[in-house]
Amino acid sequence: MVGPPYDCLANPLGAVRLTFEKAIASGSHPSSFDGKDWGAIDLFRHFLFDQSQLSQVPILSPATLRWVQPNTLVRFRGMIQDMLGNEFYVGAYKDGSVWRTNKFMDFSKFPMDSSPDMRVWERRLLYCVPVPGISSWAESASEVAIDRRMNWTSQQRDKRGRMDFEAMDAEDTPVPADNFEDSPTAKRMREDGHPSPSSQSQDYKTEAACSSTNVELEIYHDSSPCLVKIYDSPESELKLNDVFEFVGVLTFDSEIPVETGDRDDFCNDYSDDLLVHLPPHKVPRLHCLIHRKLAAHDFLHKSPSVEQTPHLVKEARESLLRHLTDVLGNDGVAAHYMLLHLLSRVHSRVDHVAVGKLSLNLTCLSKESFSVFGIQLSLAIKNLLPFSTCIPLTLEYLSRSSLAPKKDYQTNRLIPGVLQLAEGSHLIIDETLLETGTLNSVGVDNARLLKNLLEFQKVEYDFTYYKMEMPADVQLLILSEGKSNILPADVILPFQPSSVGTSGVVTTEAVEAWRWYLAAFRLLPHSIESEMQKVVENDLVAARQADRSIGSQDFSRWLTMGRLISTSFGETSLSMEHWQMVMELERQRRERLLPYRN
């Protein structure tokens, strides 16, 4: 392969143009493209993956936005928060006798007449935001690549950019700001300022300060959305709430002001959404060339290329278990359940049943002990998983917050709710703060939403005239004083610490190994041998014969646990030994539950 005569990084549009001209020269007519790719994508795919130049592409973030030039190649990692429909654009047109294309750009560089040769193509608009509840380590991992390329352009530009951004922060988060204007914690949070992603230690402090009470700000702070324009990809490929990495051409801060003067009312009424609510100088546009779905391990600093030797796996598992036991004040059973809980995911859905979820309810936590263990625990989880959030279940919170996303028809946008979470997010619900009182209708609705999420792993999105259920995959951890009746979890475990939880000294390598362990093993496939299946079935029947109160839910839980235990050992099929571990764990748990039976 001869070296390309263009710079894919700095001038991606040049590359696009070149391939277009080549395609035209080779005799294809633009009308035959019909918006489909003519070879440009292959070129970039080759450049990014075969030549592994992906790491050279800067990641779009508030920090990088200050120096990244428009019309260069960038990447953006985020969650699809809203879909804004399709957009028709002039795909190809004739400039004199030369065919030109507008694909991957907002404005045509050449004058365009409305000639009959104009081809109209379509592209999809996706509104993407950084993944809600993304942990600082995952965020900073994304920015590793840039440090090498830090060529600060003029100071002047930087300053202006920053101002822009502060202005944007204030304006772009109207919803949470409204909700939190008068809550004191929010103010404190604001004074804390944004945690700088580079300094890990300071970050830790900030996070400690922000206990569970101000999650919303955590979600929306530094919200740097991006409008991604998708070309030729099937609709089913990109779904709401998916986490993607988009590589494409950036257009941002186009100097052309939006004029409203000359347009008649007709135009104005139609341009109500995009230009006004997402002005191009505030929300960057990314014309996507290549997109790929991200899994948790894509957020790791370096994916350990170590092959999964049983020895290493076992080591990682044991050290992680030790760590969790430490955090949980020497409660080994709780640590075991916690490990399984952290590995769980919805792996299939049969009608309304979400198979594979394992929500955990740690009981016997009071307000006081929460401050000891709860915060430790949430920090530990944040440190292990890329996306995690915490909800304080107070009466006020339930009655005032908007948990479900809601469609705003004035702006034609989906307003995010706390429960619009990416696949595989972790959610801690702190019920220790709940006191007796009355809920208003919003509160009842919110409680119902949480319950639905817990039972069916589905969130109802509010479209005013109807509700739409969206599947979710969220690991739910509930901390409560007694058994939570509002939120019926799969596993209820009385928490019995014997010492004050300490996170101990944790080396960076260890943490990274654990992150890798959790990210990689969660996705392991699983099966069951037919003999083992017989054994399991017999055990289930025997259990039910012995105790009539055991029902399908208990069966489901055991099978999920069996799957997760073998997963935690890196195995893909259930063995007798692991099945017995499940039974042993359940026995210990039942013993703990006994005193609470009435």
Binding site: M83, V90, D106, V120, Y466, S552
Partner: protein, 833 residues
């Protein structure tokens, strides 16, 4: 001759299409062009439409004399265009009599196409004048006017402003015209309007209003998601929900200016390419002042305009997507026809306009805004299944707007399905496939979905067709899941929980409007689910008061209100599906069925089917459950449930059956009914039985009729056959576990419960019972010596060598026989009586 003069106006007449407001799609532009090179080539085709004309109809003077229309730039200002067209027509020299030589005239083509304007015009004339409904009587029709001529007369009478044209009619009359209309709506509709105006002025020359054509009911409708660039400038039809309406925008159509110097009023200036050209000089010869003209608002003519946003309906959204929206542009009378929340079906022209970045910028931003120029809007109210209920007999007037259109292919597919011998079982399997077993309960629910025939006698007495079902059972037997499933599937399903429902919440209540102080009637759940299924969970936990409200609803199907000066009777033709736990949460085998259910008999008798869903310690069932859950976790669930109809097909099937099938009782079936009922009554009077048993009442025979009708409907059969009646009896019996009931005490022998047992297992048990009976018949004398159970077992084993028989099973079989009064079963010995 027209051939010489007709092209003339077109060369100067049309406006330029290069308007930034209109669509930039080059090749779909309509610009009339004279294509002399194509002279006469269209002859063969142009005669086609006239072939339809019966009798041969010489084109009238008016028809041929007017000019070919000036296809307009934009449909967004139809009135202006239409007003201007006749004026250009007057310039055109009227052609002489004898339009027969049309083919000699120079054909005018729609620009960029091979569609001749004259052809289209004559085709439209033919259509409007001669189209007749097929189902009209063919004999008398010749003297009658066509459907649309009648409609035009009606429009003139009521001084209407539009004429609704069914696109299906156009298609049926002239499919070529239909294709052209959909492909080039701007041009064809302009011609349509002109033809219509000609006809109107022929009938009533003094009629002033402009009548427009509104097309509706296209052959194909697209979804919002599938709109793509190739649809631009075409006629489309789509369904959606209105989510936002703009305020009404007055749009200027004609402007009048006044000179500030001399007070001279200008002539009306019409909108040209979306703008009014303000005169710079006073037109009055004496004045001629410059820049003195000012707009006189109250003498200008305005038209209403409204922009409406339409969103996809929830059922069209794929998983993991958000709904798409599209803007609609409404004019004149269409303004305010829908309000947010309405579900509508819209016919219109899909259009795109380029977005200009700014007037100073020469570059056009290479984007388009798309919208639909609305021609016709129809409100639909189709939420789930067919809401319009066919069970109502007395609705002679069928609504014109049908909610679900079953096309030919779909109907055939459904009929094909119904011919399958196992359709009953397949439907049963498809109902809540993840709920394991409970086949007979599902059969009952299936009957409820299909429903029986409602009957209204001339005397005023009416019999409901709705089937009410009560599920009573132990906790954890997935009753609630069944309820949820039915609620999702059924038309206007309402789901309430007994604990949270009050009497008024279920029926109706009167409240005072806080602003006006008027009393208003608010519907409760039962009224809201009129013609649907009302699902009531935790029926036993409902207050006594609320439950008593159900009496009226469940039999008379009305809700009567007499309070706060309002006396009303509201329709509540709803099927009730309730579920309850037995008294004391778990079924107590030592109590009788009635005592366990503990509901007043008046209410109980109103339920057609009462299912006892009991959880019993049976290793077999437990194993099934274990297997089911293991497979749920470890196998690919898609493979696990094959041969199951998807929900869409199921819904379509049910809707179709409810709508089109009205089964009647065959004589054979009626006989069977009578016989079975008498039998049932007799069993109620079983010697030694107390009031602990649910005995048959006349209500039951109605239930049986409804059930058999529903069963016939499931097969899409117009006749209720004997087999349906037998199955109905079986359902009734199974539901109450009657085969397991000890008639003397009213308790249930838990080992005999057959619900939750698979069909094959049930067959086996039945075989065993009959085999046992045969042996007893053979071996035992009436009133003779008794026989030990083990001996019986040996006999059985001798006879049926293939299958294994357990002692316990035999014991059950003998107990069944004892229940029938065939034998006496005491300890270990069996004695025939």
């Amino acid at each position: 001759m027209a051939s010489d003069s007709s092209p003339a106006p077109f060369n100067n007449g049309p406006s330029s299409p290069d308007d930034s407001l209109s669509s930039p799609i080059g090749n779909t532009f309509s610009s009339p062009a004279v294509d002399t090179s194509r002279r006469n080539r269209r002859r063969g085709r142009s005669t086609t439409p006239s072939a339809f004309a019966t009798p041969p109809h010489p084109p009238s003077r008016f028809a041929t004399s007017e000019s070919t229309p000036t296809p307009r730039r934009s449909r967004s200002n139809p009135r202006q265009a239409a007003v201007s067209t006749p004026s250009s027509a007057s310039e055109c020299a009227p052609s002489s009599e004898g339009g027969d030589d049309m083919d000699e005239a120079t054909p005018t083509f729609v620009w960029g196409t091979n569609i001749s304007v004259q052809d289209v015009k004559s085709a439209i004339q033919m259509f409007l004048k001669h189209f007749r409904d097929n189902n009209q009587n063919q004999g008398t029709e010749i003297f009658e006017e066509g459907k649309y001529m009648k409609a035009i007369h009606r429009v003139l009478e009521i001084e209407g402003e539009w004429l609704d044209v069914d696109a299906h009619d156009v298609f049926g009359y002239d499919s070529d015209l239909y294709t052209k209309m959909v492909r080039y709506p701007l041009e064809v509709l302009a011609i349509f309007d002109i033809v219509l105006m000609d006809i109107v002025s022929l009938i009533n020359p003094l009629f002033e209003k402009h009548v427009q054509v509104r097309i509706y009911n296209l052959k194909t409708s697209t979804t919002m998601r599938n709109l793509n660039p190739s649809d631009i400038e075409k006629m489309v039809s789509l369904k959606g929900m209105i989510i936002r309406c703009s305020s009404i925008i007055p749009e200027i159509r004609e402007a009048i200016f006044r000179c500030l110097v001399c007070g001279y009023f200008s002539d009306p200036i019409v909108v040209d390419r979306g703008r009014i050209n303000e005169p710079t000089i006073c037109m009055k010869q004496e004045c001629l002042a410059r820049n003195s003209m000012t707009l006189v608002h109250n003498r200008c003519r305005f038209a209403d305009k409204q922009i409406v946003r339409l969103q996809e309906t929830p059922d069209e959204i794929p998983e993991g997507g958000t709904p798409h929206t599209v803007s609609l542009l409404m004019h004149d009378k269409l303004v305010d026809t829908g309000k947010p929340g309405d579900r509508v079906e819209v016919t219109g022209i899909y259009r795109a306009m380029s977005v200009r970045v700014g007037s100073t910028q020469r570059t056009v931003k290479s984007l388009f805004k798309t919208y639909i120029d609305c021609l016709h809007i129809k409100k639909t109210d189709k939420s789930r299944m067919l809401a319009e209920d066919p069970m109502e007999v007395d609705n002679g007037s069928h609504r014109v707007e049908e909610d679900i259109q079953f096309d030919e292919a779909k109907i055939n597919q459904l009929k094909e399905l119904s011919r399958q011998p196992d359709i009953y079982d397949r439907l049963t399997k498809s109902l809540a496939p993840n709920i394991w077993e409970l086949d007979d309960v599902k059969r009952g629910l299936l009957c409820q979905l299909f429903g029986g025939n409602a009957l209204k006698l001339p005397s005023g007495a009416s019999f409901r067709g709705d089937i009410n079902i009560l599920l009573v059972g132990d906790p954890g037997t997935s009753k609630s899941q069944l309820l949820q499933y039915i609620h999702k599937l059924s038309p206007r399903g309402i789901y309430t929980s007994g604990r949270g429902s009050s009497a008024v919440g279920l029926t109706a209540y009167v409240s005072k409007d806080p602003e006006t102080g008027e009393t208003v009637l608010e519907s409760g759940a039962l009224v809201l689910s009129d013609r649907g299924i009302c699902c009531i969970d935790e029926f036993d936990k409902m207050s006594e008061n609320a439950r008593s409200m159900l009496h009226e609803v469940m039999e008379q199907q009305t809700v009567s209100i007499a309070k706060a000066g309002i006396i009303a009777s509201l329709n509540a033709r709803t099927s009730v599906l309730a579920c309850a736990n037995p008294i004391g949460s778990r079924y107590n085998p030592r109590l009788s069925v009635i005592d366990n259910i503990h509901l007043p008999p008046t209410l109980l008798s109103r339920f057609d089917l009462i299912y006892l869903i009991l959880d019993k310690a049976d290793e077999q069932t437990d194993r099934h459950l274990a297997k089911h859950i293991v497979s749920l976790h470890f196998e690919n669930p898609e493979i696990a449930q094959q041969d199951v109809l998807d929900i869409a097909t199921l819904t379509a099937y049910v809707s179709y059956a409810r709508k089109h099938i009205h089964p009647k009782l065959s004589d054979e079936a009626a006989e069977e009914l009578t016989r079975g009922y008498v039998e049932m009554r007799r069993r109620g009077n079983f010697p030694g039985s107390t009031k602990k048993v649910i005995t048959a009442t006349p209500r039951q025979i109605e239930s049986l009729i409804r059930l058999s009708e529903a069963l016939a409907r499931i097969r899409l059969s117009e006749w209720v056959e004997k087999s349906d009646v037998i199955e109905a009896f079986r359902l009734l019996e199974v539901a109450m576990q009657q085969s397991a009931t000890d008639h003397s005490t009213g308790t249930i022998d838990m080992d005999l419960i057959t619900t939750g047992v698979s069909a094959s297992e049930r067959m086996r048990r039945e075989n065993l019972v009959s085999a046992t009976r045969n042996i007893i018949m053979e071996k035992l004398q009436l009133g003779g010596p008794s026989m030990r159970l083990l001996e019986l077992l040996d006999e059985l084993k001798k006879q049926s060598s293939g299958s294994e028989v357990h002692l316990q099973e035999l014991r059950n079989a003998v107990a069944t026989l004892a229940g029938e009064g065939f034998v006496v079963f005491h300890g270990d010995s069996v004695k025939r009586v």
